[in-house]
Symmetry: C2
């Protein structure tokens, strides 16, 4: 007897968006000395969040379900972004929110426009619900808003995805470019504007938030600048009608209580955020300097990683494999022509020293 | 302009499976003195889990993504259940796993069989993916395996759901009854056997686990006996082909790292589990005694709550509302004829004293 999966699931390949560093560690039998491959923060969590979690480790923070309305956090985020709290959906990370968006806005067979080489987990969800990809190439290592909009129009796309700043290249567009893109989103299409890395970007990267626009969903996360990737909490900002859609299908108790507690403490700790941003700027400069010293090109970054040009796919893959084997965890873009780069995360000075020493030993 | 939701989402009502206690607290403007309504544990988390989490509060436990393979925990659970680790899917709670099951095994329009009054969150997912309900009544306040199987056969159901022990009534069937039910699951139908409360039940409640059977998925959780409802971690045990299906669609990074750490420590702390089970047994007896003293019937329970018979729906609803207003959070079954009962959670002795004093004051 075979299991009667849905036609959609039956047709899916067994795939994963990312292989975790723990999997690589189990394969090699050794622990990474520098974990700078998953765009995680090397600068930890707000001390205020640690204090709040420490106080709650027990019944009130672990045994009780989280507030399904995420009320207190939404209230604080609404204040931060100067929007109504009905315009915010908190969920267990942007990954989960992207899955909800696909399920909510895309019928099987609908077109979805994204950049060739952009965030694989979004693609995982689109494939999982039977979407049809229309991928446009990066232009000068940047996602191309103009090409994305043209493809969305031509293909009558249900969704168009853009990450600004971009992952995996670290490049970005100024707010006015994105604002122009937003104006051109075609009817019956929604722009998913992933701003996971926006705290690391120049001030004029994010256009003003307009919750009156029903065609845009903005995504923010506590995974990156706030250092809470392992805690699974992020949020969408959108028109209240869109939030009502999320509320029809989300797992209402999906956000862990400790994540709610830590996020609330973190968002109030602006000094911590500032210090992380500074550390990331310093870390980017370390990688820029490393590249210069090795006569390698790099892409100026608005994120917590830097794409360093190894000139060919072959060289990039070889150095990546060698680094991983030498206990330095990094990743690289998966698609040509982006895959002549390796993506070096902003670790601590110590982690970067391990990376640089290992790189220099290998090259 | 209106948002172009999928037809399925457009047709859904804005509904939530449960209103959280925090929502009630915000409405009343007062905090609950006894939180015994959501089947959460009043006995907290394993001290070993607390220690493990405390040591990890920071980069390694919060800033790093969890292992997407949940490798170490699956290995330990495989040992515990004497199954292969390929037969286990760890995810962010049974709620999430039930959603994945529905998406994976049920086409829109397929029949789903459950008991009228059983777990609302399962129904939420079935409705969310367009399933058609065939509900059978409880018999003597128990879910009725015979009626469920008959309905599954008659309606060519894709899924049949049974919780053993049952929520919201606390009743249970012996293992041999469930084993007979498993034998009768019709072709092309999967039995979702929710065993969230099984640790509280008599020893002969769970039939042997047979991962060679492709038609059964067993669900276990760290939310109840292990006291980790707020941490979102549970697992499915099934045939490896079924686990492959989960792996095609689950959010691979969905489980928080602290939950992985705490679950691993908890599953190894059998002394803690034993102590919680004893405390729950003592707490059930307290509620049995309370009921006897008030000349109320109750249902012997194999869970961490007791259904107490208020004789009529009207009386049950009235006392529930009065208790909630007097800062005692409890819930009750939502459907007739189960809703002549109120469901009293096993709190601490202090919480139960608040409940009993308040009840006696009101009645």
């Amino acid at each position: 007897m075979t299991i009667k999966f849905t036609r959609q699931v039956q047709a899916l390949p067994a795939s994963v968006p990312f292989v975790g560093p723990e999997t690589l560690e189990r394969q090699s039998g050794q622990h990474f000395a520098a974990r700078i491959g998953a765009n995680e923060s090397a600068f930890g969590v707000s001390p205020k969040a640690i204090d709040a979690m420490s106080s709650a480790l027990g019944i009130s923070g672990c045994s009780w379900y989280g507030d399904p309305e995420n009320h207190d956090l939404r209230t604080e985020l609404a204040r931060k972004h100067n929007v109504d709290s009905d315009c915010i959906c908190v969920d267990a990370g942007i990954d989960s929110l992207l899955g909800l968006c696909v399920r909510m806005l895309m019928e099987a067979g609908d077109s979805v426009v994204t950049s060739d080489g952009a965030y694989p987990t979004f693609n995982y969800h689109v494939a999982g619900f039977g979407g049809v990809f229309n991928k446009v190439p990066y232009t000068d290592n940047k996602e191309d808003p103009d090409a994305l909009i043209k493809a969305a129009i031509e293909n009558r796309a249900a969704l168009v995805y853009l990450s600004n700043p971009d992952n995996p290249m670290g490049t970005w567009h100024d707010a006015d470019v994105i604002a122009q893109m937003i104006e051109r989103v075609p009817t019956n299409c929604t722009l998913l504007l992933d701003e996971a890395y926006v705290e690391f970007a120049p001030d004029n990267t994010a256009p003003p938030i307009d919750t009156g626009n029903k065609q845009v969903i903005r995504f923010r996360t506590f995974s990156k600048a706030y250092g809470m990737a392992g805690m699974r909490i992020g949020y969408a900002i959108a028109h209240p009608d869109m939030i009502t859609g999320f509320n029809k299908i989300r797992n209402h108790f999906a956000v862990s209580r400790l994540a709610q507690i830590a996020a609330l403490a973190s968002v109030q700790d602006t000094a911590f955020l500032t210090s992380v941003i500074e550390k990331v700027q310093i870390g980017r400069q370390r990688i820029y300097n490393f590249a210069d010293e090795n006569k390698l090109s790099y892409l100026p970054s608005a994120t917590n990683f830097v794409a360093v040009d190894m000139q060919t796919e072959q060289k990039a893959k070889a150095i990546l494999a060698a680094l991983n084997e030498q206990r330095v965890f990094i990743r690289m873009p998966g698609v040509s022509p982006l895959n002549r780069y390796i993506r070096v995360g902003i670790g601590t000075a110590a982690e970067h020293q391990v990376f640089i020493d290992t790189f220099n030993k290998l090259c």
